[in-house]
């Protein structure tokens, strides 16, 4: 187990190096001259040359890359062009709402989707099953922002159950914090619920055909116990892995959901940075999101060994 964790940790290094290389190259290989883009439309050639020199863009590209990676390894993500604040600090200030939304979404989705999937598999072929599957295709298709505005219109504007938009930090009390997160969570969860419910149904369905399930039934184990202890437990690995795959989906959804609900998180930060062409911020956010994605999948790989002790790497 220990050796596996170390090996798996080491394997993430080349992936992250690749991510860093891609992010670096995106800025360098793009058609525009980064210095000219940074300088803005009204820049003089001298201005551009000055920026190029300060950014070190006149040095060989390999030197620039090594330099940049060295800074990254020291936790220096650069400085925002707009606020002139260190990028790492800006990201740290905005990470709260994003993590809160991601956590509530994953928890809510799992609570709703796993039982749905198990019931659909149990009642395989009935209208319950077809209903759950049909809803999951719909859930995949409704765009996150359309759904978000649907909730705002129905639950916030008409019924006035929740605040329309905005964020309240946990430090200002738990009540307002959760109230502001209900609609964003409902919005972001739908696609996740669809994904997890589908995978749960498929893997439980497969397990239910196993001999030991028949044996369990034969020796008089209750239906509920068979489903939860025998079927779901053995179906856990694919379900956990689909949650890992879904993290990428979640990150994309966070960007949109934060824009719809005006949450001051990393998603809003990304969009604002794009509109203001604040490249260091864009690079930093992409690196942080990608690192989170790689790390979460790393944790999930390790979690496999807990869910299924048969898996030995």
């Amino acid at each position: 187990m220990g050796a596996f964790v170390v090996k798996r940790l080491l394997a993430t290094i080349p992936v992250m190096a690749m991510v860093a290389l891609v992010v670096f190259l995106i800025l360098r290989l793009s058609p525009g001259d980064p210095a000219a883009i940074l300088a803005g439309d009204a820049a003089t050639p001298e201005n551009i040359a000055k920026i190029r020199a300060t950014l070190g863009l006149d040095r060989p590209i390999l030197v620039q890359f090594v330099d940049w990676v060295w800074q990254l390894l020291n936790g220096d993500l650069g400085t925002s062009l707009l606020s002139l604040q260190p990028v790492a600090l800006t990201i740290g200030q905005r990470v709260g709402p994003t993590v809160s939304l991601a956590v509530t979404t994953i928890v809510f989705s799992v609570i709703v989707a796993v039982p749905l999937g198990v019931i659909a598999a149990w009642k395989h072929g009935t209208w319950i099953d077809r209903g759950v599957m049909g809803l999951s295709v719909v859930g995949f298709s409704v765009p996150v922002f359309v759904l978000g505005y649907g909730w705002i219109y129905g639950l916030a504007m008409q019924l006035r159950l929740f605040p329309v938009q905005g964020y309240s930090s946990l430090a200002d009390g738990f009540g307002p914090f959760i109230q502001h997160l209900v609609l964003p969570t409902l919005t972001l969860s739908v696609i996740f619920i669809a994904l997890i419910a589908r995978m749960t149904r498929a893997s439980v369905l497969e397990i239910l055909t196993e001999d030991y399930i028949r044996t369990a039934h034969a020796k008089g184990v209750s239906e509920q116990r068979v489903l939860i202890h025998h079927a779901l437990r053995n179906a856990a690995v694919p379900i956990v892995s689909v949650i890992g795959i879904g993290i990428a989906l979640l990150i994309g959804g966070v960007v949109v959901t934060e824009s719809v609900f005006n949450l001051p998180g990393l998603g809003r930060l990304t969009v604002d940075a794009v509109l203001a062409r604040d490249y260091p911020i864009i690079q930093g956010v992409i690196l942080v999101f990608s690192a989170a994605y790689v790390l979460i999948n790393l944790m999930i790989d390790i979690a496999y060994t807990v869910f299924d002790p048969r898996i030995r790497y």
Partner: protein, 293 residues
Amino acid sequence: MTALAPADGRALGRPQRIGLFGQLRRNPGVLAGSAVLALLVVVALLAPYLHTVDPEFLKPRLRLKPPSADYWFGSDALGRDDYSRVVYGARISLLVGAVVAVLALALGTAIGLVAGYVRLLDTIVMRVMDGLMAIPGILLAIALIALSKASVTTVIVAIMTPEVPRVARLVRGVVLTIREEPYVEAAIAAGTRLPLILWRHVLPNTIAPLIVQGTYIAASAVLTEAILSFLGAGVPTEIPTWGNMMAEGRKVFQIAPWTIFFPGAFLAVSVFAINMLGDGLRDTLDPRLAKRL
């Protein structure tokens, strides 16, 4: 899978043969999905003849009118006819979906074939692909657009780039399985040259999963285009697209919800239709995969 069994149940003795198109025709997902999609394509092509006005025509006096007999879907904050804008918007959405799917498939297939066959390149190419895949697709697209001028072409390239590694990985996987098959070994023994082996023996095996993958890419491309435009990082705002309409509707949503509702509904229906078509194609063309999901 139900599509594989003849509907009339006459197949007890020997299996009744149904052609591929027969199978496809019996699949409700394929039928419904392609019908809705065909309707949308017709609407997009015939946009000027469908009782529309110029989607950019401003009538400041008639701003934010709710849906009525004259303005079927209402009007937006600048007094433009939302019905015309939605109809014209279908053009961009469908164009982006189709072009992204075709380009991503072509590029991904080429890369996957090379990686699967030229072992020397495999490690390098697939590591680059791993790196690309570790970056969330929407963020990669946003970054690519931020760096170049906003245009439909930029949006297409930006949405396509994150999809390519997934296709490459799929094709590479098929290649690695197929190259061990006896008939490929036989072809090598007979002195068939590599490009011919790839073309004649390997490529046909990738077609079914690629078609299925292509529909999913198209669905996600339509969605991503709308998301990018909605975020202000997509198609230039002067082009009427569903995403742009919703981006403008955001500011007036509380007093004029129809500005978001109609483009949103068309977007959802389009994506739903493409997904249904994809699920149906998967069940028919790729039953092994269908069983797993």
